[in-house]
Subunit: 328 residues, 2 copies
């Protein structure tokens, strides 16, 4: 059986997305076969399109989906007809995908497929960075850069709902900051108009924050170092502001006793993703079912317009997730 899928192809000297026909994937042991109804766009997809990821193995783009189970092993906990969402090892931008059953999550009642596709990558990433890596404690302070991004909007909600944290966000427009405030952010910083490190120190009695979620990288290196509290944690999860730091002063990291952790979710092992998913289902899904935490969908594009969807993300115009809808 063939299906529509989006792959990367070299055209006119640059990498472009191409809609093509490919055989639908067959599930291996432990996997579900899912009729994809929506897939979401992530920066890792753009990095893969540009040929820079180094870890993508599936020629079809896309690391998260929502859809309907078509085939499931007995004892997997799922059955044909179940509405599921979760991370896939590539292959999301397509009509069919396979997914390890221990990574599938049942979609909460009342969610559309587009909303469900907006959950896995950003919420699991936000949960991983805030809790597994960042060890956020109740009442601590956290600086979330790119507060209106997919991971940003997820992280604000998690930090407020699970930890009553003091949430400080940066974003580049009034509209984005207002959105963050509605999600619960306590301190709003427009990085285009304010020095965020000064605002962070002012908002934390000069101490700095306990935790930074850094999607920016090089451009913010020195300012993040100023913004983090002594013995604080700093999680590097994106490089929107560049890869290369010109000069790193190691003594500053040492004398401030800072813990800096680089992380990406996509290249993690299957086992890691399964454990993270299980922990997330236990700790966060009840809050989603109760409507206290919700996925934020910015725009929905049809699968065929995947390139427009990625361009929309590259222009940083989105608030929340960009989703691809796959026709029935």
């Amino acid at each position: 059986m063939n299906m529509k899928a989006i792959i990367v192809e070299r055209q006119n000297g640059a990498n472009a997305l191409k809609l093509t026909d490919l055989p639908a994937p067959e599930p291996a042991a432990g996997e579900l076969r899912v009729r994809v109804r929506a897939a979401a766009v992530n920066r890792t997809d753009i990095v893969t399109r540009e040929g820079r990821s180094g870890y993508a193995v599936n020629p079809i783009l896309g690391v998260e989906i929502a859809g309907i189970v078509e085939q499931a092993e007995e004892g997997s906990g799922f059955a044909p007809g179940d509405r599921v969402m979760g991370l896939v090892n590539g292959g999301g931008y397509a009509e069919y995908a396979v997914m390890p059953a221990d990574r599938a999550m049942k979609i909460p009642a009342g969610y559309t497929f587009e909303q469900a596709a907006a959950v896995p990558e950003v919420f699991l990433t936000a949960y991983q960075t805030l809790y597994w890596i960042g060890r956020l404690q109740p009442g601590e302070s956290v600086l979330i850069h790119a507060g209106a991004s997919g991971v940003g909007t997820a992280a604000i909600q998690l930090a407020k709902t699970l930890s009553r944290a003091k949430v400080i966000v940066t974003a580049g427009s009034r509209e984005k900051l207002d959105f963050c405030e509605n999600l619960g952010a306590d301190v709003l910083i427009n990085y285009k108009e304010q020095s965020f490190e000064k605002e962070v120190l002012a908002a934390t009695d000069g101490q700095g924050v306990d935790l930074i979620l850094d999607f920016v990288g090089a451009d913010y290196w020195d300012k993040n170092l100023e913004s983090v509290k002594k013995e604080g944690r700093w999680v590097l999860i994106g490089i929107l502001g560049g890869i290369q730091v010109e000069q790193v002063n190691l003594f500053a990291l040492m004398s401030k006793c800072v813990q800096l952790t680089g992380t990406l979710l996509t290249p993690r092992s299957d086992d890691y993703k399964a454990r993270l998913t299980a922990d997330f289902v236990r700790e966060v899904m009840p809050h989603m079912a109760a409507g206290e935490i919700k996925p934020i969908v910015d725009t929905v594009f049809p699968l065929e317009e995947a390139m427009s969807a990625q361009t929309h993300m590259e222009e940083n115009r989105n608030i929340g997730k960009i989703v691809l809808s796959v026709a029935e």
Copy 2:
């Protein structure tokens, strides 16, 4: 009452050590007064002498001592005449010092004061970096740079005795490597003759180590990044090879999901040091009392020759600790 003590004084345009007479310190609430019998030399003392530490508050150098309790509060767990060792907030290079009682450790039977003074800073640092920060698990692999240094010799023993870890060390001479081997190190690398990153990969099936204790910093940055396993931990605890790293590639930290933690023990809070000491007494002191783990003393200088002792350390000639003996 006056006492002899070593302070820093500007002489001929450079900072030098000076033996002087100062009033003996009076213990504050919760502190012991100790007649110092030995103090050990640490790199942090040299940094302080050079006026670069930024956190030293005591004009008298020295962050660890061994001696005899002269004065103790009721309920402190100590009494006059007890032989104790532990970290002090400066003031170690002197005849008398004060020490928070919750940081004092009873000296094991059979230890000389010189051996006891060689315990606190390096063993607490090695324990902190391997376990509190590095979370070393049984059977994991650890790369210990400067294996024959004070912290290195402590870390080798802890990693082998407490965790049966695979211990890979670097050092700059056959004599130092032989010493490391006698302490239990499994893989010996002469960094002057071998590419340590290649040897590390060869010794770990190309995976890299779970944990690096890095005393070197800038010079080894890229090689350490190559030597650490995916999702590994890297603890930055010294900058013998320079402070400034040029052109740091953040994507490499992210895609390898590395945790880099800078740390120093001296600028940590009193509470941190007390908790670390308590954990160390519980987990490690029984092994010291049983002779399975032992302090390594390189050379003993009289207090008056503190400058010679520091020079000896600056020349990297020592195997284990350099100790100052204080006359009765």
